[in-house]
Symmetry: C2
Subunit: 377 residues, 2 copies
């Protein structure tokens, strides 16, 4: 590592039970943990300018390798100076490996030991992703946190199916780690798989620790299982992860999922929910969600949330947002996305404070009592 | 008029040939003229926050009575505190009368002496717009500049058709002016019709002056006629308008149309072109227009315009904008709209300076030589 580049390292400031808070240092800046990462699928957090994303309080965003490898292409992004410069976001970016979207979006997939062949969902072009290519793409993008390629089995698979998939994912993790090599100020995260089977999660965590990563993700959750099953899986998985490395719960989630994840020792989250919901008239508040499409908002001069600091709440009424939703004005997506990302970041800030003040259990109870709880997957 | 409310009055600072520059004072703030008014059809300048519209340099925006009367409805906007508060824009707003959209968007129109009956293009509801109702709606919205209801005949009508339509429009203008009454700090504009017939334009202008308005618009242009015919019509119409009142060329236009309008003594313009084009990958520059969808931009690391001060040009490459257009990201509409509105406002500022420095003819020549000229309608 060069003398100029800060080490990629987690600095823990406080713990409260399993919950932790601190700073994840990277070569491109610090990330306050627990952190929520807005999703910038193809190089834009939808309906937001990068400076607005930063204003919500985000320290890091996520980019999708699958989408970016298809358009505009990793080599093109590299020629244009890397993803940060390309999309106007100078702070850290985490990229996934592309594996999850290959499974959920592409056509005609064929998985072999070497990797996964698939057809682009955009134009049907034949593509191939191996652990080595997934890491090469993320390096070309200039990603600060690069995820190993893994296989993502659907929820509800038999133990035999999950075990076989896990074995492949662990072999791919090893190849990914070798391909990552050493990149000053950047990190390579392994992904714990194993479905909801305790012994498989343990086996996966041990295998990844043996390889040695800069951080550890929990994958294969938030894929349709009930919240209680997700929390139970975290309860028996997180204790097998090193305490001195960041822990990332992939694709999670609803606000109450995140609160439960922090209580169980997770440091990082990502989800399309605040942005996607924002484009679909849904607003998050401390009292649960609102659907601005509902006629009850048509003459409501109050804001979404009187306490919120975002432009949607400071400058516009629910009546206006309802009107903008009904008339399909782009400003509805812009304002509701901004609000939702602000809510998520304010929630993370409150969680960090609660851990620092050693009252996370109280905070979680109070939050759930007011917000409500997710009943199903 | 109350002592607190500034008079609605045009203060001319300089003239150069027929061209003029100055300030139009209103109760809600000053408008630098010549002025371009971005169009905020249903209470939002599409893909822009109000503060961003202001940052481009706009002193006034336009709202469409037709759209707003259908959704959310004028009485509802009034109950919610007026259009300014509703849409978050505190500066002046001009509203049209709804007449033009009734003709172009609605179904089953029937025009009588009393007004126009039509069906909403949204849900087929039966609606009626009279001169009195058009003014009532604009008063309910709280508009600062309220336009008379007129009939807008299509381009290419016979002299007889245009003459008959004009007579009706002048009777409606009189009724509109009476309905407007006196509103401190606000203005009521008449609309000169008469197609491309010199004697009809003169007759229309004389009739409106006889009624007496706070400003005079030129209507019925930019409806498909060649640019030369529009300019010729301005050449024989503007001299019949009072010099001490603002002149507004409705629905115009392309940058070279605006330059030609300013040369001919027009003070105010509005057009959906910069916003609509922005949502369709087109960017305006001093060297003409660019289509960001074109593959030639895919690896261009330069901005749309190296001289431009907008966020699209300061922070993003043509390559990124091309990518955002191709992937249908909302940020493409946001950034290109912002750029185009900035270009239009910078053009207006340059025109104001050129008039003040008495070099508008040179400016127009130089502009057209670089930008190009509209050849057809």
């Amino acid at each position: 590592m060069s003398d100029q580049t800060p080490a990629f390292a987690l600095e823990l400031h406080a713990t409260d039970g399993a919950a932790r808070t601190g700073i994840l240092h990277t070569g491109r800046g610090d990330i306050r943990t627990p952190a929520f990462m807005p999703v910038g699928t193809v190089g834009s957090v939808k309906a937001m300018l990068p400076q607005s994303v930063r204003e919500t309080g985000a320290d890091i965003i996520l980019g999708n390798t699958y989408h970016l490898m298809l358009r505009p292409g990793a080599e093109r992004v590299a020629r244009l100076g890397g993803l940060h410069k390309f999309c106007g976001w100078e702070r850290p970016i985490l990229t996934d490996s592309g594996g999850f979207q290959v499974m959920s979006l592409s056509k005609l997939r064929k998985i072999t030991e070497e990797g996964v062949a698939f057809q682009s969902h955009i134009d049907g072009a034949k593509e191939f992703l191996s652990p080595e290519r997934a890491m090469e793409i993320q390096r070309l993008l200039g990603s600060d946190i690069q995820m190993v390629l893994d296989e993502c089995p659907a929820f509800g698979g038999s133990e035999e199916v999950i075990e076989k998939s896990l074995a492949l994912s662990m072999r791919w993790a090893k190849r990914s780690r070798i391909a990552f090599g050493e990149q000053p100020g950047k990190g390579n995260f392994g992904i714990v798989q194993g479905g909801t089977f305790e012994h498989l999660r343990k086996r996966s965590a041990e295998a990844l620790k043996e390889i040695g990563f800069h951080g550890y993700a929990v994958g294969g959750l938030a894929v349709g299982e009930p919240q209680a099953m997700m929390f139970e899986t975290l309860d028996f998985t997180v204790p097998h992860l090193p305490t001195d490395r960041p822990r990332y719960l992939m694709g999670v989630g609803k606000p109450d999922d995140i609160v439960g994840g922090v209580v169980r020792g997770i440091d990082m989250f990502d989800c399309v929910l605040p942005t996607r919901s924002g484009r679909n008239a849904q607003a998050f508040t401390w009292d649960g969600t609102l659907n601005l499409r509902n006629a009850c908002h048509a003459e409501d001069t109050g804001p979404i949330d009187t306490e919120c600091r975002c432009p949607a709440c400071r400058q516009f009424s629910r009546a206006y947002l309802h009107h903008a939703v009904k008339t399909n004005e782009i400003i509805a997506s812009m304002l509701l996305t901004w609000h939702n990302l602000t809510f998520y970041q304010d929630l993370m800030a409150a969680l960090r404070t609660a851990v620092a003040e050693k009252r996370i259990a109280d905070f979680a109870r109070t939050f759930i009592a007011r917000y409500g709880e997710r009943k199903s997957g």
